[in-house]
Symmetry: C2
Subunit: 154 residues, 2 copies
């Protein structure tokens, strides 16, 4: 395989994809700019996860975000400081605590939803419904393929 030129097409295909993925950084920065100053993206993601999946523990947050627990711990701490999330005792394991979205957290989430929706509606005005849905589906599948791709020192 190494000496063949036949792999150029495949290599190019992934190269294009990698470049487009890097370019997505610009999209994420654009989304981040519409967030309220007191609710940066890390906090916003925590709220969205709790809203979508329901109450969960720290380990599950870090798993869903595919980040180290030290990272999710800080994000969650920020949301708790703002009163958007509360840590309830876990009857099954006293080391752990159950994270629960508060009413104030739901209110903040409503603000986030509105801002992001406005932003996307403006930016994707020329996209058809089918294309938006197709992109959403492919992104979900991409995230799924990557799975929990954290650095496992094993």
């Amino acid at each position: 395989m190494d000496s063949m030129v036949g792999s150029v097409d495949r290599g190019n295909r992934y190269e294009n994809l990698a470049r487009q993925m890097s370019a997505i950084g610009a999209v994420k920065r654009g989304l981040g700019r519409v967030l309220p100053a007191e609710c940066p993206s890390g906090s916003a993601i925590v709220l969205a996860l709790l809203n979508h999946h329901g109450d969960m523990r720290m380990g599950r947050v870090s798993e869903l975000m595919a980040v180290d627990m030290s990272v999710s711990s800080r994000h969650v701490a920020h949301t708790v400081d703002r009163g958007w999330v509360e840590r309830l005792p876990d009857p099954a394991d006293r080391r752990s605590r159950i994270l629960h979205l508060t009413r104030a957290g739901e209110d903040m989430l409503a603000v986030l939803d509105r801002r992001l929706t406005d932003m996307l509606a403006r930016t994707l005005a020329e996209w058809s419904d089918d294309d938006v849905e197709l992109l959403t589906t492919l992104l979900a599948r991409l995230r799924d393929s990557f799975g929990d791709c954290r650095a496992h020192h094993a």
Copy 2:
């Protein structure tokens, strides 16, 4: 509009997309983990841009990355320090300099390409060629729709 329930579908559509976009952070972190320690993603993007678009000035880099010039300036400085990029005088404007990918930069780019390609080939093993291409196209279009979405204080 506020009192109607009819907007639920559209709102939900964008909400899903926003959530998937956030999840893409996990994908980007996964890609970042395969990069060499001496070439973080900022540097890698600079090299890829110069390779793909050819020589350019700082302003064009910040435009393509959709970041402030102070940011791209630091990324470029890092690549120059490593000998991957050189700053050539711009005959048309002595304030500016032309950024040029060196041979060492091309070599580093080859390393990056190999690592990213391996990673994607492993991760997207079950994807069809058509789906990979479709995702690539949609990401490019998404980036295009966002355009130069930097904060313009005007």
